[in-house]
């Protein structure tokens, strides 16, 4: 086994372990971890299967295998960034609804307070 193979296998497995730890500690939600798990598993597969990259390059008709790696990585990153934008749009909408609801409830509460005790101003 080549030295680079050992390094990538070690790095991939520690990454996998770190993702698992994040999920266990509740710092990463399962639905966002799927893409990370898949990516890591792909990395592990290609770390063991040395000829895999050449096979894939031939399959897609890419002359330089490294180009396939870069193209695939950039594509995955772009898609994931788009996904994050969708998530943040959703959070923004929910955040707005919560803020409005909270403000209206506080207003109602203040009004009820004043009705009970007219001397109180706040």
């Amino acid at each position: 086994m080549a030295r680079i193979q050992i390094i990538t296998i070690l790095v991939s497995f520690s990454f996998l372990f770190y993702i698992a730890r994040l999920i266990i500690k509740g710092k990463l939600r399962e639905e966002y971890s799927i893409v990370w798990l898949i990516c890591t598993i792909i990395l592990i597969i290609f770390s063991f299967w040395r000829e895999g990259l050449d096979v894939m390059s031939n399959l897609f008709g890419v002359f330089v295998p490294a180009n396939l790696v870069f193209t695939a990585c950039i594509f995955v990153v772009l898609v994931y960034l788009l996904h994050l934008s969708v998530v943040s749009s959703k959070l923004q909408r929910q955040n707005k609804q919560l803020a409005q609801e909270l403000a209206l409830l506080k207003q109602q509460m203040n009004k009820a307070d004043k009705n009970i005790d007219p001397k109180k101003t706040e």
Binding site: N95, K96, A99, Q100, L102, A103, L104, Q107, T121
Partner: protein, 237 residues
């Protein structure tokens, strides 16, 4: 039974103009048969906006985070919907919508029974006309609005608007956060609401900052154009 009218005053750091604006709004002489309430929506101001509003007989809605003008107006409209108001009017906290002009909106509403009455700066060339670039932008949005709503609305960026119960219900459900005016017209037109424009005279801002500054105006154009395109092709939510 008198019609219940809510005056929504969205405010973001408006301590300079509020002390003059609120007494004017509260002492406003409206035609017979209207019962008014003033709701100040404080969009998480950093200054004493909330304290000033508290000294007057107004309903104060304090947003815990800054939502932008659209979110603030929508909060007021949700309040109007929850409390059974028949009409709601947006009067900006910076004093550029003179309270006396509100009567013109009400008159136009009584004559036309339109779902949305817009106070326009441009039908009659009177009062504050804003800068050249701003007028250029408004001309562009006039054209864009014609394209998407099929209606001839000259001042689609005016925030001085009177909503009836139908428009309140629609806007409470969905109202854009940023630069909501042109986009919401597309939504209203698609829902078949009747929109009417009436001339009003607007004043220069009395304090604070406009939400549209020069370096953001290009962003404004792009964002609003996109929002209008997508609002016109989106399936009804």
């Amino acid at each position: 039974m008198p019609a219940k009218l809510l005056i929504v005053v969205p405010c973001f750091n408006e301590e300079a103009s509020l002390p003059a604006l609120l007494p004017l709004l509260l002492s406003l002489k409206l035609p017979e048969g209207y019962q008014t309430e003033v709701a100040v929506v404080n969009d998480c101001s950093k200054d004493s906006t909330a304290n000033i509003a508290q000294k007057h007989a107004v309903t104060l809605i304090n947003l815990p985070v800054n939502l932008g003008i659209g979110g603030a107006v929508q909060s007021g409209l949700i309040y109007a919907q929850n409390n059974g108001f028949d009409l709601a009017v947006q009067v900006d906290g910076d004093g550029q919508h003179p309270p006396a002009e509100l009567v013109k909106l009400l008159n136009a509403y009584e004559q036309t029974r339109a779902n949305l009455v817009i106070g326009s700066r441009f039908i009659d060339k009177e009062g504050f006309q804003s800068s050249f670039t701003r007028r250029l932008g408004i001309g562009y949005f006039h054209w864009l609005n014609k394209l998407f709503t099929g209606q001839n609305i000259v001042d689609s960026t005016s925030g001085f608007r009177l909503f009836d119960a139908n428009a309140i219900a629609l806007a409470a459900q969905y109202y854009p956060d940023e630069y909501p005016e042109p986009e919401s017209l597309v939504l209203f037109a698609r829902k078949g609401l009747k929109i009417y424009e009436t001339p009003v005279i607007m004043a220069h801002r009395q304090g604070g900052q406009t939400s549209i500054r020069n370096f953001t105006s290009l962003y404004y154009c792009i964002k609003v154009t996109l929002a209008m395109v997508f609002a016109s092709i989106r399936k009804n939510r």
